[in-house]
């Protein structure tokens, strides 16, 4: 009994020490954490050079320290100047001239002290590394520039330095999306001076692992799978200055753990909060939630090269048979917006006056009868095998569609493959009906209307409907060659009308982006492209 009492006494003492220690530690921490913003991310970055990486996790880790010639105005999809103070486009739309800012300094780090400001050499280095196979840095980091290639940047014929603060891009053909593409992370401007120094030191890979940029935060260190540290850049040229002294990205892969961490005050902002925890966030008075319709789209593509999906009546019948509104609640837990067009509503050029095909089983049956199939037919739906930002549960959505289509006599077999096989087979056009989706790369409607619905897309396989309709194609091709936004908007409006008449897809939904911060966080602005920016973010 004596021993027991002694043990209890020791335990109580230890617990009280723990609590006292905790208070002291918190006091010490609060002294040190003064102006340290903590962002709990969903995973480890695959690298620190946006020319090589392409996943959203890496992009969020890279954006604090890099800038592009042009950028997307925060919270919108408008292209505005960044490292370039202005630009001009030649009449034939094949020459882009950028005048660079003269006051931009690259970061000083433990590895490198710049001797000059950012200039045309840095722009040339950043693009030539990716496009010229004989460039000394091309093979450093593996030599795979996936985004550069995916955005067809081989359109660049040449890049010339006019003087230290002027650069000219020569294109092989006019492309009005070129400017929007330059807002993307792969077009970040790296320091040529740093690259030269690292090459001389025989450590060229440091350019990719110990990055030196121009952004609001200076990269400081990375502890693998654990934490990325940054310090505010006191010489940052941008209008929105960093509001905190330090930025820390805490890698926290489990969504439910991120929920508990922000509740416990261990993070100020969390990435990819679980939609299932939405009520928990909304009911917590210490937290603030944000949502906006993202630039993404989930859809059901018909393989228009295969029967009976080459028949417009069948496509319309299927549209009428699907109770799309029910999917928003069941699949997106209310965090989705019903899609009526081929572009998400947040995109400029979105046509808000398109006809809708309401859920109507009788009408669907009539259309099937008119198409010569009064008893329906048998077919397949390829269900999305993975969770994607545009569709959290492809399998469940396929089952709901299967049940809907059975009501009009269409017997659907759900087929699924592993993700790479699904991508490869659907690119080859082996499917009948395919559940697919897309996330905008740059906020330009071309990302949806051209890449996924043009004739060249059908040839390359990125147009999963394999729909090649000349009147539509002429419009989106023309829109690629016009730089006037007003004119492009009108063309895209017309293109969407034709899309909705011809229905190569059933547009299903755009998922809403969702974020959570602590209530005391200020200055956080959601990005329609789903990225997180930390300059301008502070906490009380």
């Amino acid at each position: 009994m004596k021993k027991m009492s002694l043990m209890m006494l020791v335990m109580t003492y230890l617990a009280s020490c723990t609590q006292n220690e905790q208070v002291n530690l918190h006091a010490a921490e609060s002294k040190r954490t003064d102006k340290t913003l903590i962002y709990c991310s969903e995973g480890s970055p695959s690298g620190f050079n946006p020319q090589i990486t392409e996943d959203a996790t890496s992009i969020n880790a890279e954006n604090p320290y890099y800038n592009r010639l042009v950028t997307i105005q925060r919270g919108t999809t408008n292209v505005v100047a960044d490292l370039a103070s202005s630009w001009s486009i030649s009449k034939d739309q094949k020459e882009y001239t950028f005048v660079l800012r003269k006051d931009v300094k690259f970061h000083t780090t433990a590895n490198f002290k710049p001797t000059r400001n950012m200039n045309a050499d840095d722009v040339l280095f950043s693009f030539n590394r990716q496009r010229l196979k004989d460039h000394p840095y091309h093979k450093v980091g593996g030599g795979n520039y996936l985004y550069f290639e995916a955005m067809e940047m081989d359109i660049i014929q040449d890049i010339q330095k006019v003087n230290d603060s002027t650069v000219k891009f020569f294109l092989k053909r006019p492309d009005s999306v070129f400017l929007a593409n330059l807002t993307m992370e792969f077009a970040s401007i790296l320091s040529a001076e740093y690259a030269d120094a690292m090459m001389k030191a025989k450590t060229p890979d440091k350019v990719d692992t110990m990055p030196v940029g121009t952004g609001p935060f200076v990269f400081k260190s990375y502890q693998k799978d654990s934490v990325i540290r940054y310090e505010a850049n006191p010489e940052y040229y941008g209008a929105i200055k960093p509001q905190v002294e330090r930025l820390v990205i805490l890698i926290t892969p489990d969504a439910s753990v991120r929920t508990q961490k922000i509740k416990a005050g261990e993070c100020h902002i969390i990435a990819e909060p679980s939609i299932a925890d939405r009520k928990i966030f909304e009911n917590d008075s210490n937290l603030k939630t944000y949502s906006m319709t993202g630039l993404n789209m989930t859809y059901l593509a018909f393989n228009t090269k295969k029967k009976p999906f080459d028949n417009l009546l069948v496509r319309k019948a299927i549209f009428h048979a699907l109770n799309r509104g029910a999917y928003i609640d069941a699949i997106f837990h209310g965090m989705g917006e019903l899609a009526e067009s081929a572009v998400p509503p947040a995109t400029w050029g979105f046509n808000n006056n398109l006809p809708t095909y309401e859920y109507d089983i009788q009408k669907s049956k009539q259309l099937l009868a008119k198409a010569g199939m009064p008893n329906g037919f048998s077919t397949e739906i390829w269900a999305l095998p993975v969770t994607r930002p545009y569709n959290p549960d492809g399998r469940k959505m396929a089952e709901m569609m299967q049940a809907d289509l059975a009501k009009v006599g269409i017997k659907v077999k759900i087929v699924t493959f592993d993700w790479p096989t699904f991508l490869a087979k659907s690119r080859n056009g082996e499917h009948s009906m395919l559940m697919f989706g897309w996330i905008s790369d740059n906020g330009d409607p071309d990302s949806f209307l051209y890449t996924q619905l043009s004739c060249s897309g059908a040839e390359a396989g990125s147009n999963r409907a394999f729909w090649c309709f000349k009147p539509y194609n002429d419009i989106v091709e023309k829109a690629k060659r016009v730089s006037d936004i007003q004119q492009r908007t009108e063309l895209y409006m017309d293109a969407q009308k034709i899309f909705k008449e011809q229905l190569p897809w059933v547009p299903l939904a755009s998922a809403k982006a969702f974020r959570v911060t602590r209530k005391n966080v200020t200055g956080y602005v959601m990005d329609p492209l789903g990225r997180d920016f930390f300059d301008g973010v502070n906490y009380q």
Partner: protein, 347 residues
């Protein structure tokens, strides 16, 4: 003892070859193409696809790929990660200390709690203590780690039940981000002593390791407790124990000096095997507790079909487990003089 160790080390070469075959072929049985996985929805032109496959050496016949893998592996090169382009060996050793540190603490916890529980259960056989301890250990053994980990976070860190003395453990991570500890050895409990605020950092690291170690150590704890109980019960029925008791030795001396040492062999076996169990548990524990070890690294590599990381990681983990088993085998000789004599006679 040295000859025995050398014999065991020779067996390692065979194990290495077996492990290599398993690691290499298992990942290739998983459907999917790592290059297509990397390209995602956007894809690439057939030429670029072919170029990427060639760069990664995935365009070669399997047998050639395997030959190259073995050739490079015996030279200490397990290739580069497809995703990060970093050396697999370096990536492994950057993370292994975190896993090892957590595993050691988890095993210490399992032993420090499991052994006394087993001993008490054996001494108090068929009493309330026995039933309670063994019941609890059965529950511990049956609990899925991811569920147990989340329960621990909710109860101990978030303190949902508002219990006294709870709520002071952090939700996840290895140390608070305010402590900037340079990686000298990779072992945080050592590296903190090279930093400022050593004591505060040490205490913070200790608080962070507690919950993951409990989550990870619960299953081995249950196994150790049950094995200690049954092994001790068997020994307690032996004649020499009765003799010791008849000589008037105290119960404590009988248990600690005479019974426990003889009961230790199966317990040591279980502790050795628990290392494998703990490493297996690391995969889930590290994900839940955001622990930057090899478990999480391997999970990520499986989802991205990062062949070099999976085959290299499995090989290195397998070798680590084999080495631990070798140490356990050697520990038998040290613990049991009978085995040592038998081994000496066989020479």
């Amino acid at each position: 003892m040295i000859r025995y160790s050398l014999k065991k080390l020779a067996l390692l070469a065979i194990t290495f070859l077996g492990l290599s075959i398993v690691a290499f072929s298992l990942i290739r049985m998983v459907p999917g193409d790592p290059v297509l996985m990397m390209l995602g929805e956007r894809g690439a032109s057939p030429e670029s696809y072919a170029e990427m496959k060639a760069t990664l050496g995935l365009d070669q016949p399997y047998i050639k790929q395997f030959g190259l893998f073995i050739w490079h592996a015996v030279h200490g090169d397990l290739g580069n990660s497809i995703v990060s382009n970093q050396s697999v060996v370096r990536e492994f050793f950057d993370r292994f200390p975190a896993t090892l540190e957590l595993s050691v603490v988890a095993l210490l916890f399992a032993m420090m709690v499991g052994l006394p529980l087993g001993i008490i259960a054996a001494i108090k056989r068929n009493t309330f203590f026995d039933y309670a301890f063994m019941g609890v250990s059965l529950v511990g053994y049956s609990m899925p780690i991811f569920w147990w980990g989340l329960i621990l976070i909710l109860v101990a860190s978030v303190n949902v039940f508002d219990l006294p003395f709870f709520g002071w453990t952090p939700v996840s991570g290895r140390i608070s981000p305010m402590f900037e500890i340079d990686s000298v050895t990779g072992f945080l409990f050592i590296d903190v002593w090279f930093s400022k605020d050593s004591w505060a950092a040490f205490w913070d690291a200790l608080k962070h390791v507690l919950l993951p170690a409990i989550a990870m150590g619960t299953i081995p704890l249950a196994v150790i407790a049950r094995m200690t109980r049954s092994s001790l019960l068997e020994v307690l029925g032996e004649d020499y124990i009765r003799t010791a008791k008849a000589k008037g030795l105290s119960t404590r001396r009988v248990i600690m000096v005479h019974a426990l040492r003889n009961a230790m062999i199966p317990i040591v076996t279980v502790i050795g095997l628990s290392f494998g169990m703990v490493i297996k548990g690391a995969i889930l524990t590290e994900t839940i507790f955001s622990w930057p070890g090899i478990g999480r690294w391997l999970v990520n590599s499986v989802t991205s079909l990062d062949y070099p990381v999976i085959q290299g990681g499995v090989l290195l983990i397998g070798m680590a487990i084999v080495v631990v088993n070798l140490i356990v085998d050697l520990a038998y000789l040290w613990i049991d003089p009978k085995l040592r004599d038998a081994h000496d006679r066989s020479k």
